[in-house]
Symmetry: C2
Subunit: 233 residues, 2 copies
DNA sequence: GGGATCAAAAAGTCAGACTTATTTGTCACA
DNA sequence: TGTGACAAATAAGTCTGACTTTTTGATCCC
């Protein structure tokens, strides 16, 4: 799924990144490059490259005579896919999942509306295929098969929106949906109403009915919010 | 505004990054670390650090025996603030501005709805203050003063939403609004209707009327879309 | 023609010496 | 006593050169 840490530098990142993302080093903590290099048993050049990457994600700040200081979470590049993965892998998982679900609830309806305008015939066909796949796997504990088609469905919508920034959220949505199936409680078959909504969205997009596609998708995302007990007064 | 390239490594990035983001090196182009180091007159270590950062942004991919290859735009980390700045600074500016405006149209209404629920008294006061500032600078070619309050207004909304990912879009929105005032055609005073809408949003948030805040903000963003001739069949 | 083998190329890694900026502490002077 | 300048310590920043490893592509043999 994610890029396996290529090279020593990548290995260091995959250890240090999640640790910082999980809040193991409180904001303001100071690390020293030399000490880290020793701890990970790599040369300073390798460690410096890793620090540079963490710095580009705004997780840390490197200053002369001071060291490498951890930045407060509010300054992190929280849209960096790697940061998202690291946070999902650690103690910050619940909050990250909530943030992402709220983000989905904003993006996906608009994306569906745009998809209704701009989707190609091929994309409409894909969408219908995905929806049918979801229906086919919606009963009898075929959760994995259902997930695959669910992810594909939302990916097609985001891509068909024609907006490059929406399209890049495909991986994030995939991660959220996979998380819901794998980590969270998900013993029962998916909600039949949700399945129906997906079929209807596919149909609305095919028909070019932007308002209807947007509205139906909003209902889907409201369901996702309710699953996490977001909403309420 | 942005971080001025600290160190040699930062200087290299500020030259190479924009060049790649502007599409000067077509996808698949191969660069060699040693050659780049010579070109920028820095050591290989410095160049390697720069390449690592570009790689973490998914702008390039470094492979042994091959070199540093430029990735297709569809794979870039388009939410990285630095990438956004680089794209806004170059030939990709129009498309980047459109993408961001569409993104705003999805995010901000939802953020405003959440702000109506979660904004503190202080944030409501700030919001009203910003709206009044916009009114005060809405006539007589006080574009700079208007911009400052406009940016502040949208920042408060995003922060008050309580969603960390929305909050991080403050800088992006600021960049879009500033671009509209400085680069695009903006000789006349702002649309009075837009000013009124901002005041009404502030009032709706203060009153805790989420649906109204969301709807009014949607009208604002529709206006932004129309300015760029987005919409239409 | 196809598969194994070998050589070249470029990134990856390391070690060590040196430079530079920044902080902190000290000391003299007002 | 407070304040300013100056000096020392510290950790990042930079450079260089040698070496390793992976991958590719060409060659050679069957």
């Amino acid at each position: 799924m994610s890029t396996p840490g290529r090279g020593l530098h990548g290995h260091v990142l995959e250890t240090l990144g999640p640790a910082i993302a999980a809040g193991e080093y409180p904001p303001g903590s100071v690390l020293r490059t030399d000490e880290l290099a020793q701890r990970f048993d790599v040369s300073r050049s390798v460690m410096r490259e890793a620090v540079r990457v963490l710095e580009s994600m705004h997780l840390v700040e490197s200053r002369r005579r001071v060291g490498v200081t951890v930045r407060p979470k509010a300054e992190w590049n929280v849209y960096d896919p790697q940061v998202i993965r690291w946070r999902l892998a650690g103690a910050d998982r619940p909050q990250q999942l909530r943030s992402l679900t709220v983000l989905r609830s904003a993006i996906e309806p608009v994306a569906a509306g745009l998809a209704a305008k701009y989707a190609t015939a091929g994309q409409c066909a894909e969408l219908t295929e995905c929806a049918l796949g979801m229906v086919a796997h919606s009963r009898g504990h075929q959760l994995e098969g259902y997930l695959i088609h669910d992810v594909a469905f939302h990916r097609v919508i985001l891509n068909a929106s024609g907006n490059e920034m929406f399209a890049r959220l495909g991986d994030v949505v995939a991660e959220v949906l996979a998380g819901r199936t794998h980590h969270e409680v998900m013993f029962e078959d998916p909600d039949p109403a949700a399945v129906t909504l997906h079929v209807q969205v596919a149909e609305a997009v095919r028909a070019g009915d932007a308002a209807r596609a947007e509205h139906l998708t909003r209902e889907i995302t409201v369901g996702a919010l309710q699953e996490l007990d977001i909403l309420a007064p």
